[in-house]
């Protein structure tokens, strides 16, 4: 009997010690971690519109300064109309605007897609013509490093630049990830709606394509207003 009590006591004390250590670390470091996550998001937004190249090391101050000078945040409803933040409903969507000299250069859409192993989060920036992609970035994902994980790499993301979300007839088709190389797999007229796939990661590409299509469809009314020049 005393053995059981001893085991129980030991387990209880150890759990208490380990638990307090972890709580301490978690609460003590939370501030730094949240700061890192926020900074990383800002970095990604700036990367998507080409203000940062994602390779050179930049200080936190530079990122925050660039961000506050160029990026603004708005909410839109399902018809693509801007709603004031305090009156936003739960179906309203978040958009970031990249403006210079009082003119909108691009709008940035937060992307949340399913991946093969978990959620993929990132940003897609579309130029003020409402059709040309200015950049795509990923800040959080659970894909296999070296395979699906390549979605966070520059070589994959830079293929999005200059691609269109419209086909030749001007119909909305979104953007998709090809299975393999675009040049070999996709007919000439559709090549501008596809980016090169990642070898060994067809599933990641499939899920991300679906996620992009869904998100871009939700934002389509807003994009359309840009195409009709209703927003400047």
């Amino acid at each position: 009997m005393s053995n059981y009590i001893k085991s129980f006591l030991f387990a209880a004390v150890l759990s208490l010690v380990c638990g307090s250590l972890l709580t301490l670390a978690s609460t003590g470091l939370k501030e730094y971690q949240l700061e890192n996550i926020e900074l990383d998001k800002h970095k990604n937004i700036l990367k998507s519109v080409g203000l940062l190249n994602g390779e050179d090391a930049v200080s936190q101050e530079t990122v925050e300064q660039l961000y506050s000078e160029n990026i603004g945040q708005i909410w839109i409803n399902v018809d693509g109309k801007i709603v004031p933040e305090q009156r936003k409903g739960k179906n309203d969507l978040q958009v970031y605007l990249f403006s210079q000299q009082g003119k909108i250069q691009a709008y940035i859409i937060p992307i949340h897609s399913r991946g093969l192993w978990g959620k993929i989060s990132g940003y897609m920036a579309i130029k003020n013509d409402g059709a040309t992609i200015s950049g795509f970035t990923v800040y959080s994902h659970q894909e296999t490093p070296g395979l699906g994980g390549e979605i966070e790499k520059k070589w994959f993301q830079k293929n999005f630049q200059g691609k269109k979300i419209l086909d030749d007839q001007g119909n909305f088709v979104a953007i998709a990830i090809a299975k393999g190389s675009v040049k070999e797999r996709i007919p000439e007229s559709r090549q501008k709606n596809f980016v090169d796939g990642i070898s060994g990661a067809s599933m990641t590409g499939k899920f991300l394509s679906a996620g992009l299509k869904q998100t871009l469809t939700e934002y389509e009314p807003f994009s359309e207003r840009f195409r009709k020049n209703e927003i400047k």
């Binding site: 001893k6 085991s7 387990a11 150890l14 380990c18 972890l22 670390a25 470091l29 070296g146 395979l147």
Partner: protein, 205 residues
């Protein structure tokens, strides 16, 4: 007495080559497959594992006289898990970019057989200082194999070394192609198999 004959020396150096956890005991293969596509992640993973292994061996050895036998595995795992989560939290707070690259693999150190293996077979029966050495030695042995495999895979799979292109563009122009197999898991199996073969041949009992 020569330094190479002392117990501490043996405890530290044996696992690096002779009884290496990966190539000698075939432990911890799972992560050796996963993080060895690139050298950079392999190095950080090796460091993180060495750190966790050293401290888990040390703390378990310090408690070895009090740990009740019937719940020792649970105790060991609790200590290991705590250390791993602490490492992960610290990485996330101060080395956010590297922690993003390692993603889930830091968390997976908990399930690495080497750590539980060393706790069970060594730290539970030996004094703290030797256990610490054993932990560092095994960690370095693991890192050494990881780095070797990563060098092979990154070179043949991507033509790179530590992220720098080493195979010149003229080779590619002449028709050379990267081995896609090396980027995938079978590449790691083949590389580890070759290392095991080499090691068994060199250090014949």
């Amino acid at each position: 007495m020569k330094i190479t004959k002392t117990k501490a020396f043996n405890v530290f150096f044996k696992p690096i080559w002779e009884s290496n956890p990966i190539s000698g005991q075939i432990l911890g293969i799972c992560s050796a497959l996963a993080v060895t596509v690139q050298l950079k992640t392999a190095v950080v993973m090796g460091l993180a594992l060495t750190l966790v292994l050293a401290f888990s061996n040390l703390s378990i050895s310090l408690m070895r006289k009090f740990i009740p036998r019937n719940i020792r595995i649970i105790i060991e795992l609790t200590v290991i898990a705590t250390l791993v989560i602490l490492t992960d939290q610290v990485l996330k707070a101060f080395l956010y970019d590297i922690s993003k690259q390692l993603s889930i693999f830091v968390g997976l150190i908990i399930t690495n057989c080497i750590i539980l293996g060393r706790a069970e077979t060594y730290a539970l029966g030996n004094p703290p200082f030797l256990s610490l050495l054993d932990g560092i030695g095994n960690g370095l042995g693991y890192s050494q194999i990881l780095i070797t495999v990563a060098v092979i895979r990154e070179f043949f799979g991507a033509g790179k070394f530590f992220g720098f292109q080493v195979i010149p563009d003229t080779f590619y122009a002449a028709g050379y192609e990267n081995m896609g197999l090396m980027v995938l898991a079978p590449g790691a199996f083949i590389a580890i198999g070759l290392i095991v073969w080499l090691q068994k041949t060199v250090s014949k009992e």
